[in-house]
């Protein structure tokens, strides 16, 4: 509890929501790394997932506009390179409306950690289709069924140039916690896509009314990335590939900015 703003608990998350699990993992990751919360800025967008640190986590929090937390975080990190800057927001926020910022922050390889909570839906606004909603699922704005292909976010971020990319579900709390620690430690753009239940806005239309239904689904459909090499795209269609996608060294943006300045100053 020492990392939380106790005065505003209990949280406003619905029962069965995965946001509490993500908050828990985030606080544990901070604790296990022994990080000083005074040195952390959590930057969030708009949506239920954005409420995970804002305001529940006791650190500096910048609760921004819908889709733009990565842009705000870039300004923060450049001016405060020694602080840990963490972006937490939903799939609609970071990958939907803010998708362009995601691609370009990964391309620059900005040294921040991004925890994207993918609950397959626009939760806060009451269950409209999201770029991650599986094909065929009915939502409030796809009343018959969703006819669009869902976005593969982790794969996209890996292709865009991030230093560290992983995908986990809220069923895999221990690997997720460890992965968050790795994201903190990694220099460069670290990205974790976290699949998370939303029984209230997403599940109710497909008969998944309990958080547990999601955990069962995650358990059943998850497949480790190490095991997918010989599987076809078709075979993987209905699976959730979990694990570490990318872990590499690549020039980091704020460091390059600083080097450039060092070269100029005094000239």
């Amino acid at each position: 509890m020492k990392y939380l703003r106790e005065e505003i608990f209990p949280t406003k998350f619905c029962s069965g929501c995965g946001c509490g699990t993500v908050l828990n993992c985030y606080a544990h990751a901070i604790d296990e790394l022994g990080l000083n919360p005074e040195n952390i800025v959590s930057v969030t967008g708009i949506g239920c997932s954005s409420w995970i640190p804002s305001p529940y986590l006791k650190c500096d929090t910048l609760h921004t506009t819908h889709g733009r937390p990565l842009a705000f975080a870039t300004g923060v990190k450049i001016m405060k390179p020694d602080m840990d800057v963490v972006v937490i927001a939903g799939d609609g926020d970071i990958a939907g409306i803010g998708g362009n910022h995601l691609i370009h922050s990964a391309r620059r390889n900005l040294d921040i950690s991004v925890f994207l909570v993918n609950n397959y839906i626009y939760g806060m606004t009451g269950g409209q289709v999201s770029p991650t909603t599986p094909m065929g699922h009915p939502t409030t704005t796809t009343p018959y069924k969703n006819i669009e292909h869902p976005m593969k976010i982790a794969e996209l971020v890996a292709a865009a140039g991030a230093s560290y990319v992983a995908r986990w579900t809220t069923y895999n709390v221990f690997p997720l916690m460890e992965s968050m620690q790795n994201a903190f430690k990694k220099k460069g753009f670290s990205f974790i896509e976290i699949l998370s239940p939303c029984p209230v806005a997403h599940g109710r239309k497909i008969g998944m009314r309990e958080g547990q239904d999601y955990l069962n689904m995650f358990k059943e459909k998850a497949i480790k990335i190490e095991k997918v090499k010989n599987l076809s795209e078709k075979e993987l269609e209905d699976r959730i590939v979990i694990g570490k996608f990318v872990d590499r060294e690549r020039t980091e943006f704020t460091e390059s900015l600083r080097k450039l300045n060092q070269e100029r100053i005094g000239k």
Binding site: V41, S54, P55, K58, A73, M83, I103, H104, N261, I265
Partner: protein, 381 residues
């Protein structure tokens, strides 16, 4: 070592022959700007190009973003991380920035947005000047708010007002807009860099604790990230502590009224105008920015021809110089308002005077000629 002092010494006191856009960049430097986020657009790109060159020399940061939404977002983030931050754009980019300008208003974030206005709507005449964003600067973002916007009429003023913009943003903890136009931005003119000791720089008041970063007094002090304040910055309605409270009518009313009053109650301190040839004038030509130049030319010609015509120029567009314009309306019988739009400020003037107000619009990417404005003067004198 103060990289800034050292570097600026190269320029102080010197005379330059440069573009208005370049003067904006130098003005930002003299104001000690250390973060610029932007996206290229005519006729504002020259601001970014020069500042990208200048900032690394003073340990500042220039980043070209993927769009203008990201640019203004990063500017606000940089400001909360202690930076003096700015962006520069033109119409289409200014439109994209509106949501986050509202965020800066709501979170009381000091920052400067330069809008080098061009002909619109949409891509309009992309390379040509206009003054069509005057009302967008005032009301472009949703919700009740006040805004500060300054309009330069010369290259020297681009430099001087840029420093004022930063100072006003720090004093009032608010975004400030330098509302220039493509004509002034691309005008090449003589300007003199001041001596460093003559440049007044205002710094934002710093909070000792996190209790009242968002209220408690008209203009609360700020606390940057990383100071152990555990501050919570949100564009949602919030209490004095920064914590969200979007349910209570009282909390919202108190917050928005205070943010509004910061500027409203300081109107007379902020407002700046210029008056010339007003003695015994019965007609006044009122303008701002690029169109103020031929306006003054026409007034001077009228005076040479013994016509009782005066000149009035807004240096601050917002907050509006209500008192000054009301006084003017009492002195003269007619106000002519040349502007490079279909009468945006002309209508605003009408709200505050009883005399006749005649709009003298000019659109299509060119500034009024002195002849055109003089012809209007002759019609009414």
């Amino acid at each position: 070592m103060d990289y800034y002092e050292n570097y600026l010494k190269k320029f102080e006191g010197k005379t330059f022959f440069i573009l208005g856009d370049e003067a904006v960049a130098y003005g930002a430097l003299f104001a000690r700007c250390n973060f610029f986020g932007g996206y290229p657009i005519t006729p504002a790109s020259e601001v970014a190009e020069l500042i990208a060159r200048l900032l690394p020399n003073v340990n500042g940061y220039y980043v070209q973003f993927e769009d203008e939404i990201a640019s203004i977002g990063a500017v606000i983030g940089a400001a909360w991380a202690g930076g003096k931050a700015m962006t520069a754009t033109s119409g289409p980019g200014f439109s994209l920035m509106q949501e986050n300008i509202g965020y800066a208003v709501m979170t009381e974030t000091p920052c400067v947005i330069v809008d080098v206005q061009r002909s619109g709507p949409s891509t309009g005449q992309a390379t040509k000047p206009a003054q069509g964003d005057v009302m967008q600067a005032r009301w472009g973002t949703h919700g009740d708010h006040e805004i500060i916007a300054l309009a330069p009429s010369s290259v020297q003023e681009c430099f001087d007002l840029m420093i004022d913009c930063f100072n006003l943003s720090e004093i009032y903890r608010t975004p400030v807009i330098l509302l220039t136009d493509g004509e002034i931005g691309h005008l090449r003119e003589k300007m003199v860099m001041p001596k460093l000791k003559d440049v007044k720089i205002v710094k934002r008041p710093k909070a000792k604790d996190n209790k009242s970063v968002f209220g408690g007094q008209l203009i609360p002090p700020m606390m940057e990230f990383g100071r152990g304040g555990f501050i919570h910055v949100t564009g949602s309605t919030h209490k004095t502590s920064g914590m969200r409270d979007v349910e209570s009518q009282e909390v919202h009313e108190e917050l928005i009224t205070r943010i509004y009053k910061k500027i409203e109650t300081n109107r007379e301190k902020i407002v700046r105008i210029e008056k010339k040839h007003m003695k015994n004038a019965k007609v006044a030509v009122v303008s701002y920015g690029a169109s103020a130049r031929p306006s003054l030319g026409a007034v001077e010609r009228a005076r040479r021809n013994k016509k009782k015509v005066g000149f009035f120029r807004f240096i601050t567009i917002w907050p509006f110089a209500r008192k000054q314009i009301t006084e003017l309306g009492k002195q003269v019988d007619t106000i002519l308002v040349p502007e490079m739009n279909l009468g945006q400020i002309s209508r605003e003037i009408e709200r505050f005077v009883d005399c006749e107000v005649i709009s003298v619009p000019k659109i299509g990417g060119i500034v009024h000629s002195i002849d055109e404005i003089y012809a209007k003067i002759k019609e009414v004198v």
